[in-house]
Amino acid sequence: MIRWFKNKAEKKATPPYSNEEWVKLLSEPANGEAVKHLRSILIRGLKPALAKYIDRELDQFVEDVAQDGLLKILDNVQTFRGESKFTTWAMKIAVREGLTVLRRKRWENISINDLKGPNPDSDSGEIFSDIFASDEPDPELTAAQKMVMEKVKKAIDNILTEKQRKVINAVMVHGLPVSIVAEQMGTNRNNLYKLIYDARKKLSNEFEVQGIDPKEMLNELSDT
């Protein structure tokens, strides 16, 4: 009798599923219809979400991402906390999967060690200064602006570690994704974000110690 009620309840689960139904249906052994349904949802959402990053074979890419995302979702279904719709959570996983693949592809031939910037074999901060330099002098700069930039350059050279300069160079100057820099440095996004945060904090403290107001420096550099 209990089994009859259970079977009846399971048969009632038809899309759109509730969060509880999704978790139940996707828990091992996963329900084939639910998996198929989630896959179609992922594909429908991923297409417009990733379209601006892909100029050809979008459909095939999205199919692959949906499949890989689906596997991650199934592996992690028990970690869903129920604080959002299940499909929001699942789509987040799939979107992250897609963007991770795209970032790796885009930056696969770029090494943070090859970027113009600090020489990893050198502990001289002076080399890093070239990151913030242009080849041609800027005739538009006023004497006060040059002074401000010199102060910032000195703080960078004197206060930040080689690693912090390297990461700031990659992320803030060259625009590499944090996730790619983290991978290349054998760490994770959180640690890398923290490293940048610490660098910002150190610079902020240094300016304070020197009695320099960074807002005033920024105002000085503004073209108004």
């Binding site: 990733l50 789509m91 799939a94 330099a133 350059k153 503004s222």
Partner: protein, 82 residues
């Protein structure tokens, strides 16, 4: 001596000035992003309700890209109430 690149210095100064002690990490932002986006889809103002998430999105390009892509995906699905 080479001339410093003004725009990069400005960018760096802005980042330094806006540094705050309670910034979220990427994983903390990721944990909150579903709620943030669902508020947005419901026509509410998540930036006010969850300012630390908004702050992290303003700073972190990776998380911002993921948020924008997820928002686009969910807007596509919204009409179907999936």
């Amino acid at each position: 001596m080479k001339t410093l690149n003004k725009n990069i210095i400005k960018k760096l100064l802005k980042a330094v000035i806006s540094t705050r002690p309670d910034e979220l990490s990427c994983s903390e932002c990721c944990d909150e992003i579903e709620s943030f986006i669902e508020m947005e889809l419901a026509g509410k103002t998540p930036a006010k309700a969850m300012p630390l998430v908004q702050d992290h999105l303003n700073r972190c390009k990776d998380c911002r890209e993921e948020y924008e892509a997820l928002l686009t995906a969910l807007q596509e699905l919204k009409a179907d109430r999936l």
